[in-house]
Amino acid sequence: MIKISKIKMHIKIQKFLKNFAFWIVILIFTFCILNFNCYAQPISSKELLENAQEYDGKRIIYQGEIIGEVIERKDSVWLNLLDGDFAIGIFLKKDILPQIKFIGGYKAKGDLLEVEGIFHAHCSEHKGELDIHAEKIRIVKEGFLKEEKISFLRKIWIKYLSLSSFIIFICIILRNFWKRK
């Protein structure tokens, strides 16, 4: 009886190991596919620029704030997305561009966009430029208008400096006048 139960246990363990091995293989396979064709997590510009050759031709996800403006070229557009370190040019068809509300600049923090597309270390379509040809694009976070901080102290300084420059200027005029006399 003990022997039979031992055999049964052994078979169970073997089955479990087989299943486990199967799922491990599936997991590794899935990981490899993801790794070679698309990176599920957004990749930083720093990582892309430092390993441009490795990512060349790969499907990637990249996130960044839209800066400058939307540059329209016939049926396509160029965007420049800044992720805090560097900005990268994104090339995409006009019809997939979402409604951009804020573009990054002095007065606004631009919309945070996420693009999925092919990264080119030296794009053959764009004569060697480093770019991403986006196939999917979405707004992750809407931008906002920034408030300007105006220094009260500087305003006071301006008054004093205006007064002192006026006084010095008058002194120079008086000095020249006395010299001529």
Partner: protein
């Protein structure tokens, strides 16, 4: 025996510096008007404050240091070298107030890089900088390209005595007209005509390339100001890559060429004397050096095989090379690509091009084509002489505006400055290496600073060591004024301390 400069000498120097500060201070009105136009309130305060500060310091110096005295060579050189230092410090104030520079030293670095037309930047997040501050950054380069003192000369006219000596002190040697004031004014008039034409063309290209009208106009203006001055600042950290336009890149190549040519050659071209252009030793030398350095870059890039097509190799290789040779520093690649893809022969080609620089009496920096041409010609003459019988004397000539006989004094002067630049590049590289950077990268960045180029392989950043920031500030200052004025300032300081 060293003669200690008297109080009169110091008064004379600071009196003229005061005048220059006032004149340059008025240029702060441009960013102020830009701030008003774009309704940027904080920059309006910053620039009004800075303008008044310039005015106060300038007026104070002219009031308390006024003296009637002839400007000697020593005074002229000290006025020029100190003016540039003062401008870097004062010009940094509005930048620092914006909060986009980590420290005042970073802002001074930026201002020196601006006035010296280098283009290396320590700006944090320039994408969110106000249009007024962008105007100031690019205007500094436009003014610095022509020369701070040239600007003062154009406005002050007879008010500034000893003008020729001051003019020479700012690394200018040639007069277009017999009168220096007329020469200075011609340079400014020519630059403003080019500014109007160039901004219109660049703006037009950008408009056709999908930019809005207002943006196209201002981007065109900024890029022309920094491009013609062979400066290299751009409103965005991606440099010229931001625009994604081949036609725009071609236009900027043309503008960089304009900036690197001698102002006297511009005059010849404008007066219809086109033959003069191809006869000049500088143009012949530049043709040779551009071709040979491009060959190095192209071979280096082909060897690496990083560009898929010949057009891509030409676009990226030639653009970076011209940008380096003219001393501009515009980039269509990322700084990291120099290390990752260009390391080796291509990078060496770029370093050589940066070191050589453009023409004399232009907005470009570096050793300069005239000096390279003269040293090369002298070397050839020596070789030819060896081939002749002993009693034969060879007379070599060169053409630069007019015909000259190649004399030892010209060659000695050219070779001295040539050597001084090489020492400057290597000293900067040694400091870079002491900070832990590899030799080639340290040499690249040092040459870029010393030759006032502005290309970067990634070393220049707000987080780089303070000692390196100071080293590059000095390199930019010394490189722009071509040594003599700075050495005289050191001599002046030593005489103040040790003189009798």
């Amino acid at each position: 025996m060293l003669i200690r400069p008297g109080i009169g000498d110091i008064r004379l120097i600071f009196y003229h510096i005061g005048k220059i500060i006032i004149i340059v201070g008025f240029s702060l009105l441009f960013p102020l008007f830009t701030a008003i136009f774009f309704q940027e309130k904080a920059p309006q305060i910053d620039f009004l404050f800075s303008f008044l500060l310039f005015l106060n310091i300038g007026l104070f110096l002219t009031l308390f240091f006024k003296i009637e005295k002839e400007i000697r060579w020593m005074h002229a050189m000290v006025i020029v070298s100190l003016s540039w230092l003062f401008m870097a410090i004062l010009g940094a104030i509005p930048l620092y107030l914006s909060g986009h520079w980590g420290s005042f030293l970073d802002a001074v670095f930026e201002a020196m890089s601006g006035f010296a037309t280098t283009g290396l930047t320590l700006a944090k997040d320039p994408e969110h900088l106000s249009m007024a501050h962008q105007m100031w950054r690019h205007l500094m380069q436009f003014i610095g390209g022509q020369g701070i003192v040239i600007m003062a000369l154009s406005f002050l006219g007879k008010g500034l005595g000893g003008v020729f000596r001051i003019y020479i002190g700012e690394a200018r040697e040639e007069k277009i007209f017999p009168n220096i004031i007329d020469t200075a004014r011609f340079m400014w008039v020519l630059s403003i005509i080019y500014l109007l034409l160039g901004s219109f063309i660049l703006g037009g290209i950008l408009r056709l390339e999908g930019f809005s009208l207002k943006s196209a106009f201002f981007q065109g203006l900024f890029i022309f100001m920094a491009g013609f001055a062979t400066g290299g600042f751009t409103p965005y950290s991606q440099s010229i890559l931001y625009y994604h336009s081949f036609s725009f890149e071609l236009a900027t190549i043309f503008i960089m060429f304009l900036g690197m040519i001698n102002f006297k050659l511009h005059y010849s071209l404008w007066t219809g004397n086109r033959k003069e252009f191809w006869r000049d030793i500088e143009i012949i030398t530049l043709s040779f050096t551009i071709f040979s350095t491009f060959l190095l870059v192209a071979m280096g890039l082909s060897e690496k095989g990083i560009y898929p097509q010949a057009i891509a190799l030409f676009r990226q290789g030639f653009y970076q090379l011209i940008s380096a040779h003219t001393g501009t520093g515009y980039m269509t690649i990322y700084a990291k690509e120099f290390i990752k893809g260009w390391l080796g022969l291509a990078m060496v080609g770029i370093i050589i091009a940066m070191g050589l620089g453009g023409a004399t009496c232009s907005t470009a920096g570096g050793i300069k084509a005239l000096r390279i041409g003269l040293v090369f010609k002298a070397f050839l003459q020596d070789v030819k002489q060896l081939m002749q019988p002993d009693n034969t004397v060879l007379v070599e000539k060169f053409h630069h505006i007019r015909d000259f006989v190649l004399e030892d004094r010209y060659v000695r002067s050219a070779a001295t400055i040539f050597l001084a630049y090489l020492i400057l590049y290597f000293l900067g590289a040694i400091v870079g290496m002491l900070c832990g950077y590899p030799f080639l990268e340290a040499l690249f960045e040092s040459t870029s600073a010393g030759a006032n180029v502005g290309l970067s392989c990634g070393i220049t950043s707000p987080s780089m060591p303070t000692i390196l920031k100071i080293t590059y500030i000095f390199e930019m200052w010394i490189g722009r004024l071509e040594f003599v004025a700075i050495f005289t300032l050191w001599g002046f300081i030593i005489a103040l301390v040790k003189g009798k």
